[in-house]
């Protein structure tokens, strides 16, 4: 603990000096605020708190980032609040993830659209995995998908998000890529969070699990579950390096649960650029690399206009799948 603290201090001192020097004439938020659109304890809350703390440690912001939990509507309450009441704020950023994009795509934020806010940057991604329990006969993703093709009723897949949510969509992306014609036959069972879904996999209630790499990590380490495919473009590092990607197995499916931020639509260009560069500085730091590693986040470095395009593209991709499975018309 002492060692990390010292290291942190040194890093903060070094980076702090350089950061202040680099951004002396830039916009600096007076009262930096981060809205976590969920209750304490979830991924969005983590995103806000961890980024706020690290930014302050590194001197990227002067004051403590105030984290406001504005839960409700799967992020919709916060989105509406930002669009309707805080549209001009230059000090505000809001945590977002694939779930935000999914809900925007499916029209689950009534009356709100992607272009009402400015998308800042991503801070990493949690790639999807498909896993079975360690003693399962299934060894590869094509094997699982073949079973589903032959008799969709024989395989139940558990995930932590609601039907139509990101965990569900990942399986459908894979099934679609493998040529399963009617993806609506895929039997997906929604649980409250990835942990509960894995527990039911171990209990034998379901045959497969779909979730994020970070959710599966503890169970992979303990040898309880077997990852049959990682939905990433390349193999992940660390503990997950042994697991094949879906692409290696001939299935062109990628599912990244990205984490990032958006800002109010009326934020000035100056402030927008400053926030983008602050997040980019944070992303480049060694401290952030170790935080990413500890939390199972894989690299996904998109900022500014690049990130806007990424979000818009993924929203339209999700819209296509959702239309196919009949969640939206």
């Amino acid at each position: 603990m002492i060692i990390t603290a010292t290291r942190g201090l040194v890093a903060a001192a070094v980076l702090g000096v350089s950061a202040i020097a680099a951004q002396a004439q830039d916009f600096t938020p007076e009262n930096p605020e981060c809205i976590a659109p969920a209750n304490p304890g979830g991924g969005w809350d983590f995103t806000c708190r961890q980024v706020g703390k690290s930014m302050q440690d590194q001197g990227l912001i002067e004051k403590t980032m105030q984290v406001v939990n504005l839960a409700g509507g799967g992020g919709g309450v916060a989105f509406a609040e930002v669009v309707n009441k805080r549209a001009d704020s230059n000090d505000l950023i809001v945590a977002a993830s694939s779930a935000t994009a999914t809900r925007l795509a499916q029209g689950a934020y009534p009356g709100n659209t992607t272009d009402q806010v400015r998308w800042l940057a991503s801070i990493g991604a949690d790639y999807g995995v498909i896993a079975v329990s360690a003693d399962s006969e299934i060894e590869t993703l094509p094997q699982l998908l073949d079973m589903m093709k032959e008799d969709p009723r024989s395989v139940s897949i558990a995930g932590g998000s609601a039907v139509g949510g990101w965990d569900h969509l990942k399986v459908l992306i894979a099934a679609d890529a493998y040529g399963i014609e009617d993806v609506r036959t895929v039997k997906y069972v929604a649980f409250d969070g990835g942990g509960e879904a894995v527990t039911q996999l171990l209990a034998g209630s379901v045959q497969a699990f779909t979730g994020d790499a970070s959710e599966a990590k503890g169970f992979v380490d303990s040898g309880d579950i077997k990852v049959i495919a990682v939905l990433s473009p390349e193999r992940l590092s660390g503990d997950f390096a042994d697991f094949p990607t879906a692409q290696e197995q001939g299935i062109d499916a990628i599912g990244a649960n990205w984490r990032g931020f958006y800002a109010p639509g009326g934020m000035s260009d100056e402030a927008y650029d400053a926030w983008v560069s602050k997040i980019a500085d944070l992303y480049a730091s060694d401290e952030w690399k170790s935080i990413m590693e500890a939390n199972g986040l894989a690299p996904l470095d998109l900022a500014g206009a690049e990130f806007e395009t990424f979000v818009t593209d993924s929203v339209s991709e999700i819209q296509d799948i959702s239309r196919e499975i009949g969640i939206i018309k």
């Binding site: 209750n39 304890g41 984290v67 504005l70 409700g72 799967g74 039907v163 409250d192 209990a203 209630s205």
Partner: protein
């Protein structure tokens, strides 16, 4: 022996001056937060997370602070349940049933100290359970598939008639109302919003904290406003604190109850998603079935205070088991603790016990210390707490109203929730006039979603075959208990209930 050595190491970690101080601070703050209506253990822990981080504490001290807050809040929740008849948090809801009547009978001091002791017993056994059984108990959780969960919740509701003593039809109505309210929001099994009327605030469903504060606290204020010119002030004078310590005979009478409900509560806590509310709920209704031969439960029976308190504190300890051993939180509060662990670079899960023994055993030792501290803090402070009763309602009620509004706004930051809360307040007022018990409504709202989801999961997994619900020995057993628990009181309990009725009549609607 290895166990004791590990525990010894744990105490070595926990017994530093800093950690002891943090435990004391956590216990104190936790008790206060638990006592405030609306602020429960999960908010308490969440509010103090920034404190732990800004103090630059390491993983073990942070955990000690936060779990002390957790245990403290579990203790504190009973205070306003007993004194005001307003549950301080969800798990303390069942304590209202007998705790408040006891206070009205002038036994507030005894109720408070007895519940303190019951909390201690529950938490003490649960901590031992955590030590001895954590690795094994994980397997119990694995026995529970969706079908078994559904049977467990059905059992909880089938025994509901035992909770509300006045009128079974009214309590069934209240439970149905609660289950109906639980369907509001996006349905996770289809992704379709239900009863949201396009209002984004309703997509996540009704927050049961808002419901509790509205139904209990605000309706209390409305009732007071209605009677303002009448007997409200006179009413308060009738309340006397009584002796501050329970007589030995009372403790003796409650001991079997405390032991039984500790075990039951612990098991309820271990099951992911069930949590402390179910723990205290099942504890109370089981004890009522088991020992309430004279129909005194609900009228201020000390055993009715001891049962839910031992049960919910045991469940709090139990909920730590799946959190530490599986990384699956057993309750809302443990979900927050899980997030704290993750941000401290500790990954809970099957390997935690081998990879971070200092954290696990330090935490367990801290739980023992916090528990003893809480008992010592709580018994002498009973006198202080009971002063609250001496405050005349015309001063107390505005405070209750203020705390309700500030508390709910502080949690959600949303004025919409305040409107919902007022709505619940009005509903609570009307229902009290009609003599409909309020507790089953909350239980329905609280457990309805999980119950429904597990039913739908079980059915989906088995391709629409309803017989999956009675497919395992465990679920058959649970169903059998549920059916017996539902039918028995209808046959044997008729005579008892009529006697209960007469006793219950002069207790006012809150004691339902």
């Amino acid at each position: 022996m290895e166990l004791l050595a590990n525990l010894g190491d744990g105490f070595a970690v926990a017994l530093t001056l800093q950690n002891l101080g943090l435990a004391l601070l956590g216990c104190f703050l936790g008790t206060i937060m638990g006592a405030l209506p609306g602020l429960g253990p999960s908010n308490g822990v969440a509010i103090l997370i920034p404190l732990a981080f800004t103090m630059g504490l390491g993983p073990t001290p942070s955990l000690i602070l936060l779990t002390s807050v957790y245990y403290g809040a579990m203790y504190g929740g009973r205070i306003s349940s007993i004194l005001l008849g307003i549950p301080g948090d969800e798990p303390a809801m069942m304590t209202v049933l007998d705790g408040h009547p006891m206070a009205k009978k002038g036994m507030a001091g005894e109720a408070l100290s007895l519940s303190g002791i019951a909390s201690f017993v529950g938490a003490f056994f649960a901590t031992w359970g955590l030590i001895l059984l954590a690795p094994q108990l994980v397997k119990i959780a694995l026995l529970f598939g969706p079908a078994e969960y559904f049977a467990l919740f059905a059992l909880a509701f089938a025994t509901l008639g035992g909770v509300s003593s006045t009128n079974q039809a009214k309590s069934a109505f209240a439970a149905m109302l609660g289950l109906g309210l639980a369907t509001i929001g996006v349905d996770t099994q289809t992704g379709v919003p239900r009863f949201t009327f396009g209002e984004v605030h309703l997509y996540d469903g009704l927050d049961f904290l808002v419901a509790i504060v509205g139904l209990f606290a605000l309706s209390e204020v409305f009732i007071f406003l209605e009677h303002r010119h009448g007997d409200a002030d006179a009413d308060s004078k009738k309340l006397t604190v009584g002796r501050l310590t329970p007589p030995m005979s009372m403790i003796k009478a409650c001991t079997p109850t405390m032991l039984r409900t500790s075990v039951l509560g612990f098991i309820a806590g271990v099951l992911p998603g069930a949590g402390a509310s179910l723990g205290s709920f099942i504890s109370y209704s089981m004890e009522k079935k088991l020992v309430d031969k004279k129909g005194t439960f609900g009228t201020g029976d000390p055993r009715g205070v001891a049962a839910p308190e031992a049960g919910n504190n045991a469940a709090a300890g139990g909920a730590l088991v799946p959190m530490l051993a599986l990384g699956v939180p057993g309750s809302g509060t443990t979900a927050v603790l899980l997030a704290v662990l993750l941000s401290l670079n500790i990954t809970p899960g099957p390997l935690l016990f081998t990879q971070n023994p200092d954290v696990v055993w330090g935490l367990i030792a801290a739980l023992f210390i916090a528990n003893i501290m809480l008992l010592l803090l709580n018994i002498p402070m009973v006198g202080l707490f009971t002063r609250v009763l001496m405050v005349p309602p015309r001063i107390l009620m505005p405070i209750v109203a203020m705390v309700s509004f500030v508390g709910i706004y502080g949690i959600s930051g949303s004025t919409f929730d305040l409107l919902v809360m007022i709505g619940f307040g009005v509903m609570g007022w009307v229902l009290r006039k009609l003599d409909v018990p309020l507790v089953p409504i909350i239980l329905g709202t609280l457990l309805g979603n999980t119950m429904e989801n597990n039913l739908r999961r079980a059915i989906t997994i088995d391709n629409g075959d309803w017989f999956t619900l009675v497919d395992s020995p465990l679920s058959i057993t649970l169903w059998a208990i549920a059916i017996i628990g539902f039918i028995m009181p209808l046959i044997v309990g008729r005579a008892l209930r009529s006697r209960m009725h007469r006793k219950g009549e002069d207790e006012g609607s809150i004691s339902d």
